[in-house]
């Protein structure tokens, strides 16, 4: 009986094809992202860019990469968009069920454990690299989760293709005594660094500030990188009369019917048509 998970029946055959038959492995498409998290005195700040790519094409210039796990636990996701969205969605449902059944508000470490156990089961085949941050009754927490299921707890984190650019900014600017405004500005600069220096990241900057029983989502806080010069306002509207009429032909669609008693005249009328 097929249980859940991926089917590895063809694994052996694939390995042999690559080694013996010189089969060319298709290139994996990198989706590209810069996601960042920073802990400050009262909570955590999460940041993300908004570009979703499909190979060399920008599939969505303004997508949302910061997902809600619960009211005060949010998660930024890098990797395959479908994987990050559905993984965070499922864990969010499980966490709500758990919090209803225990009568307690959910903890960040519970979300962390659910996510890492789920990803480990799929041995890295679910390509979701996550930055999980939130504030629960034990205080602010920030974790990074790799696709294979390993996790780290750190005061500042960056993930995605733009993580090196962002980490450079974080390493320079981070100090353990930061307040909310400093942390927001640092995260903003880190994401901007990723957007400017990494091809896979781009678009706008999204920020999420979580404190005790408070969450503020700054969607598109910085749009300087996505202001295109020529952009027509949708929907396309043309003023009535702007299209020149070259020819006009009027066709009568409704024929008036006259009830005639005589059969002969009916046949004559039909013949005329």
């Amino acid at each position: 009986m097929q249980k859940g998970g991926f089917n590895f029946d063809l694994y052996q055959r694939n390995v042999e094809l690559i080694e013996k038959n010189n089969y060319k492995v298709p290139k994996t498409t990198k989706t590209g992202t810069t996601i960042v998290g920073v802990v400050f005195s009262d909570g955590v700040v999460l940041g993300a860019d908004t570009r979703a790519t499909s190979g060399p094409i920008v599939a969505d210039p303004n997508c949302e990469k910061i997902h809600k796990i619960s009211d005060y636990i949010w998660c930024a996701g890098a990797g395959t968009a479908a994987d990050t969205e559905n993984t965070t969605g499922m864990i969010s449902l499980q966490l709500e069920l758990l919090s209803l059944s225990t009568g307690r508000s959910p903890r960040v470490r519970t979300a962390l454990t659910l996510l890492k156990n789920f990803l480990f089961r799929y041995h890295g085949y679910i390509s979701a690299a996550l930055v999980l941050g939130g504030v629960d009754f034990t205080g602010p927490h920030l974790h990074m989760i790799h696709p294979h299921g390993s996790t780290s707890t750190l005061p500042y984190i960056s993930m995605g293709s733009g993580s090196l650019a962002a980490m450079a900014v974080l390493e320079t600017g981070y100090n353990s005594k930061m307040g909310e405004e400093d942390a927001k500005s640092l995260v903003h600069q880190a994401i901007l660094s990723g957007i400017l220096n990494d091809l896979g990241s781009g678009g706008n900057v999204d920020l999420c500030v979580i404190k005790h029983k408070s969450m503020e989502f700054f969607r598109n806080v910085d749009t300087t990188n996505s202001k295109r010069k020529f952009r027509k306002k949708l929907p396309y509207m043309f003023k009535s009369g702007s299209t020149k009429i070259l020819e006009k032909e009027i066709e009568e669609k409704m024929r008036k019917m006259e009830i005639v008693n005589e059969k002969e005249s009916q046949i004559e009328e039909l013949e005329e048509l």
Binding site: L93, E96, L100
Partner: protein, 237 residues
């Protein structure tokens, strides 16, 4: 987990006069349970129940009869507590599954229908007995405030105001006189507590009743004992 057996027959079978006696017995179990009642107002729903514990030694904080299914739906019961707990678990899971599938918070009438479906299953499946509870489901969704009752048979229907459990017929008569269709939620809370007081054996205080309210903010809330105390003292004046 059901056994994979070829001989798993239903224990609920028809009697010669067309009744399902097991369901009738289950309804009797409900009738002898603690009173619960609900009132649907124009801008909200209130459900209340009697929390009579057999001895003062029981820690009443550990007993929570009114439960939430999700942010916008609350439930109360009359009958067997353990059966209720199982139904609540199943109902919560159903509402999350619905959200996963449709990305929409489950409407009140749909969750009532699903719970009724579960209860009906247990009247027809092999080797199980019907649930010995009737539920009152209170919620506020895009169709406004709603109050549903779900019975052990699996039938469910909406009420404007109703009572289940001990003394339910007297309580319903009382509600019939006092119910007005344009009632506001505050008025409804007072009426509900007053109705409960009518059939209450002994002294009613904020620790031996539970009150759950949902207003047009669509967030179901179980009232704290201090708030319940305020309502009771208003009635005593």
């Amino acid at each position: 987990m059901k056994k994979m057996s070829f001989f798993n027959f239903s224990l609920t079978t028809f009697s010669p006069n067309g009744k399902l006696l097991q369901i009738e017995h289950a309804l009797k179990a409900v009738e002898s349970g603690a009173t619960s009642l609900g009132i649907k107002a124009s801008n909200g729903v209130v459900i209340v129940t009697v929390k009579k514990l057999p001895t003062t030694l029981i820690d009443e904080n550990s007993v929570k009869k009114i439960q939430k299914l999700n942010d916008g739906i609350g439930v109360i019961y009359s009958g067997l507590g353990p059966d209720y707990r199982v139904l609540i678990s199943k109902a919560r899971k159903k509402s999350q599954q619905y959200f996963k599938q449709y990305n929409e918070i489950i409407p009140v009438n749909i969750i009532s229908r699903k719970v009724a479906g579960i209860m009906q299953e247990f009247t027809q499946s092999g080797g199980v007995r019907p649930f010995g509870v009737s539920l009152l489901v209170a919620g506020y969704d895009h169709n406004g405030p709603q109050l549903f009752q779900v019975d052990p048979s699996g039938s469910f229907w909406a009420w404007k105001a109703t009572a289940i459990g001990k003394n339910s017929s007297n309580s319903k008569k009382f509600l019939e006189k006092r119910y007005k269709p344009d009632m506001e939620i505050e008025d409804a809370i007072n009426t509900a507590i007053l109705t409960l007081k009518e059939g209450f054996e002994g002294e009613m205080d904020e620790f031996n009743i539970e009150v759950g309210v949902i207003k047009n903010d669509k967030k179901f809330r179980i009232l704290e004992p201090e708030e319940v105390k305020d309502y009771i003292s208003e009635l005593n004046l």
